[in-house]
Amino acid sequence: MENSFVVSTLTAAIRSGTPLLFAVLGDILTERTGVMNLGIEGLMLVGAIGGFFTSYLTGNLLLAVIVAMVAGALLASVHAFFTITLKINQIVSGLAITFLGTGISGIWGANYVGIVAEKFDPVKIPLLGDIPYIGKIMFNQDLLVYISYLLVPILFIYIYRTKSGMILRAVGESPRAADSRGISVTKTRYIYTIAGGALTAVGGAYLSLAYNSMWIEDMTAGKGWIAVALVLFATWDPAKAMLGAYLFGGITALGLRLQAIGTHISSDFLKMLPYILTVIVLLFTSTEKLKRKVGAPEALGIPYSREDRE
């Protein structure tokens, strides 16, 4: 009995952590180039409705994920244009992206609230799925979860071990130096802001295509903001992002389960828990010294302009 509780909670932890994981991985790509994006909540929402809309109309889940990515990429390109080309404050622009995304998704989805459509069902992986406990927790999930497992090492290698990854980091670290080496700061930032937006949108699509199989207005319910915090928690590292996402997914899952058993903890306190934990964790992880050590993108939040000399 107790074992099954732990297993089911951990399984649920991965399920509720996956949307966060996609969002955090996407935002890591964007922030690594020095572009801060507070628009995750909005990007996730357009991904969620874009995905649901397509799955409802066509029944094709892969197409649905692609449409979600396109929706995210389009919205992220607005952020890219305003922050990179027009050099508008990244915080303000990111916030406006959240407003836009919330608004677009709400109007787009107005007629689809509560309708059930196709969803990604759990698929057991042969052999791996038979490992006791771990198999049940990790390898009895849906396709998107498996994709996210693969994405983590892929992005890790890409960021730290490839030439493109080096360029990506250089642009976030010291755009001026990168520019003098002939790297186009503008182009690099555009590419990763848009790619990051597309990936973040998959996180939203996970909510409407796998976690649920319907569209609910504002269904991200603050997950986008948690993702913003998790990027810091993960120190822009895909591997730690995975840990962070599942940790936070676990808290959500545990909260829901404790309520289901009927513990006398107020549900509002359980909802508060991830936010409180974020504050405490950041208190211990974000001293300046540590930031230097983990290599936070030095130019994060600063628009780059060739003409302005410091």
């Binding site: 507070l38 909005g42 607005v78 305003f82 027009l86 050099k87 508008i88 404050n89 915080i91 303000v92 622009s93 916030l95 406006a96 992206i97 959240t98 407003f99 836009l100 995304g101 919330t102 608004g103 677009i104 998704s105 709400g106 109007i107 107005a110 007629n111 207005e217 504002d218 603050g222 903001w225 913003v228 915090a229 810091l232 107020s266 509002d268 306190f269 909802k271 508060m272 936010y275 409180i276 974020t278 504050v279 950041l282 208190l283 974000s286 001293t287 300046e288 930031k291 003409e307």
Partner: protein, 370 residues
């Protein structure tokens, strides 16, 4: 012939006004397209019908909040909390400290004022004393809530953006806990809210209108802040800290002190806004009493270019936007998220218009290379 894009040094006042008007028109146009498409699909109308409905709803959206005798009062009522929070934010933003936590500070101010009105000072009968006490409570609530990120930033260099963001949600859920739980009005028919405030804790109205005297408070505050920013040492030093923290340190300014104080003041003002909102409009603490005032206030502060007097004007416009989209929702069944969409659009159009106006296209004969 060569086409070149050059930077314009500064815009004259007339140019700025012109750019603002054009940008607003662009946002209205884009919104109109979206609305037309929405009506066409949602109500199964042909293009002409959808366009007509869009035109009608636009009239509603602008006439009611700005020209109708009752509508404009609602606009003023929404302007008050928006302006309070936005004025608070300016204090921090001038130092480039990004307080995104106006919403949470507003909630905590409202919560503290409610605690004062219903428990701590419930026997105070003199309205003036009561109002002053509750404003003080609001200031404490908002100020303490902002003190958390302030001290974390000053002593641990924690990123204030994320912390203030997280604290928003903690504050909202905490208020939810109170109004669904221990503070719930037993005579409220299950409605998530506290008992109503005592009469002494309600702000008087101006004349026969529905507008409470909070509007006077917020105008006075904007004037005081203008004075502080223009004439005092604080205003001068905070600008230096905002421009360059290292220079400020060399100039002997205590950056830590300025960081903490600016964030705390920012929270105090938002908290007072929460208290005023309780005493003037809500008269009891309720679940979700703010439809995101704290987030809209960020847009207002930025569009007002951190100028207190402009905040009042921008706050009035955004108050009208909220009232207008509310009535659209009521009469045309447009989803509430319309207001989010419109706020994002207005912000992007205004900032984009201004940024683009700073460039001009120059046609130049190609110079001969000798």
């Amino acid at each position: 012939m060569k086409i070149k894009i050059e930077k314009r040094p500064t815009l004259s006042n007339i140019q700025s006004v012109f750019v603002t008007i054009i940008s607003l028109l662009v946002s209205i146009l884009i919104m109109g397209i979206i609305l037309t498409v929405y009506f066409a699909f949602d109500k199964n109308l042909d293009f002409g019908g959808a366009l007509k409905l869009t035109a009608e709803s636009y009239v509603e959206m602008f006439y009611w909040p700005f020209f109708d005798q009752y509508g404009i009062q609602s606009t003023f009522l929404k302007m008050i909390p928006l302006s309070f929070v936005a004025l608070g934010l300016i204090f921090a933003y001038r130092l480039k400290i990004w307080n995104i936590g106006g919403e949470g500070q507003l909630y905590m101010g409202a919560m503290a004022a409610t605690y004062g009105a219903l428990f701590l000072f419930k026997d105070v009968n003199n309205p003036i004393i009561m109002i002053l006490l509750l404003i003080f409570m609001g200031a404490i609530g908002g100020g303490l809530w902002a003190a958390i990120p302030a001290f974390m930033k000053a002593f641990f260099k924690t990123d204030e953006i994320v912390i203030t963001l997280m604290l928003n949600y903690i504050a909202i859920f905490f208020v939810d806990y109170l109004v669904y739980g221990p503070w719930k009005n037993p005579e409220g028919y299950g409605f998530p809210g506290t008992a109503p405030f005592p009469d002494s804790a309600n702000l008087p109205y101006i004349g026969n209108s529905d507008i409470h005297i909070g509007i006077i408070f917020v105008i006075i505050l904007a004037v005081i802040m203008t004075y502080i920013f223009k004439k005092t040492k604080w205003g001068f030093n905070s600008k230096i800290v905002g421009d360059n923290k290292d220079n400020a340190k060399y100039a002997g300014i205590n950056v830590k002190f300025y960081t903490i104080i600016s964030l705390v003041i920012s929270g105090i003002i938002a908290g007072i806004g929460g208290a005023v909102q309780m005493m003037g409009t809500q008269h009891s603490l309720q679940h979700g009493f703010s439809p995101g005032y704290g987030f809209t206030a960020i847009i207002i502060a930025w569009l007002a270019k951190l100028n207190p007097i402009s905040v009042l004007l921008t706050g009035f416009l955004f108050g009208g936007l909220l009232v207008g989209t509310d009535s659209l929702q009521m009469f045309y069944g447009v989803p509430t998220s319309l207001v989010d969409l419109f706020q994002g659009l207005v912000l992007f159009c205004l900032l984009g218009g201004e940024a683009i106006a700073h460039y001009k296209v120059v046609f130049r004969e190609k110079e001969a290379i000798v």
